[in-house]
Symmetry: C2
Subunit: 231 residues, 2 copies
DNA sequence: ATTACTTAGTGTAAAAAATACACACTATAT
DNA sequence: ATATAGTGTGTATTTTTTACACTAAGTAAT
């Protein structure tokens, strides 16, 4: 940071905690910054909000530029506004989390070059982050951990068709605790928001499991039937 | 709004949904604006964030200027950033809720004069509000309704010493549903976060009820023992 | 002192939900 | 044919939630 940097006044920015579930691990997308300040540091994807775009739109745009994906599940979770959180001026940042289906494919197509690279990193293995991004990540992680216990957001991270074991693993990883297989299945199937398919897992060297889909319609009908998990 | 107004660039502001519980009703504090835009409209208390103060600080300051109170329970809940939410320019507002013990006294001492008046109004009887403040209020109300079911925030609205019936009424008002008296008491006392006092209600023309206090210590010990109410 | 009034305070039984727990089945690979 | 690895299933126990109604205590009026 040896160079002299321009000062600026108030700016809004967006930072995103983008979750993905891959190879049994919960990961987030980090970028390596190629600009001062914090050049070469890892950071959450984020950028300035334009004059004529809403913050929700800015969040979607940033996600798109980085992954080439649209229509992703995103939710605003907190706004960070300490005076000195940015060394160059007053930047208040609105944080969003997003959930992406990695589904093995993993082939994101960044549409911008504002970062030298973007990499999926397991949440249990994060490097030091720029600015107050560690704080932002922690709060975001806490939020989804809380939310997963009463809203069906886990499905956003799984492929469209998944096995109950995959679903259980995901819950276990996010809640950071073991769950009982029989009880998990009983409960999950009881909500009536899963649709059993006539299809089985493929390419495994053991008995293939049944595949399920999240049934949005049924869920919408039950509407605010909140889900309870993790106690 | 007939006058021509100055334009400005990006600004952060804070808006507060300040809850109070009085005479069995849940109320919020509204101000009547005495400046354009929306002159003479009712609005949530709010103001611009200064260059050198954090957003949390700004929220506390605004609350202080309006009520003369400090150290009040406040929590940030959402940030509103639509492009045209403010007619004069781009204003992104961070919304907080606060909870105030009205305790009969009700004698707030406004320290500023930025509003022509400030009045407590029952949440079921709100007038039209300026800007997108109705949306902000709704989201804030939704948040405390959700939060009250797993965190002991209700106590912030009651006098230090309260009866179980008062506590139950407050839950009923916020959750907008009747609760069973015996079950409510059983559950509430079971958490072990209430301290029974050697004191009784005074000045009532019927059998006086026992007074209780919220026991912060015990709660802190149980730490994240979350509370469940309203199902 | 009696009475009427109003709210406080209490227990139990039934239903529902959560938990703990273990083994046989099935597909594949060798 | 055998080993391997994960799938899929049921029951008994405990805990939590729900439904429900009367007596006790204090005040006010007569």
């Amino acid at each position: 940071m040896g160079t002299i940097l321009p000062k600026f006044d108030s700016v809004f920015s967006i930072d995103c905690v983008i979750f993905g579930f891959d190879e049994g691990e919960l990961k987030i997308l980090l970028i390596e910054r190629n600009e001062e300040p914090f050049k070469n540091w890892w950071a959450l994807p984020g950028y300035i909000v334009e004059q004529d775009e809403s913050i929700d739109h800015a969040a979607e745009r940033i996600l798109y530029e980085l992954t080439g994906l649209r229509g992703i599940y995103m939710d605003q979770f907190y706004t960070f506004g300490d005076v000195n959180r940015h060394p160059q001026g007053r930047v208040i940042t609105v944080a969003y989390y997003a959930m992406i289906r990695l589904s093995g494919s993993k082939d994101l197509k960044p549409v911008s070059n504002y970062a030298s690279k973007a990499v999926w990193i397991p949440v249990n293995d994060l490097p030091k982050l720029a600015f107050d991004h560690e704080k932002i990540f922690s709060k975001g992680f806490e939020k989804i951990r809380h939310k997963i216990s009463y809203q069906p957001i886990a499905f956003e991270l799984l492929p469209e068709k998944f096995t109950l074991t995959q679903l259980q693993h995901l819950y276990e990883v996010i809640l950071n605790k073991k769950l009982d297989k029989r009880n998990f299945r009983k409960k999950m199937l009881n909500y009536g928001i899963l649709k059993e398919l006539d299809e089985k897992q493929k390419g495994v060297s053991y008995r293939a499991a049944k595949l399920y889909k999240f049934d949005k319609r049924k869920y919408a009908k039950l509407f605010q039937k909140e889900i309870t998990f993790g106690k």
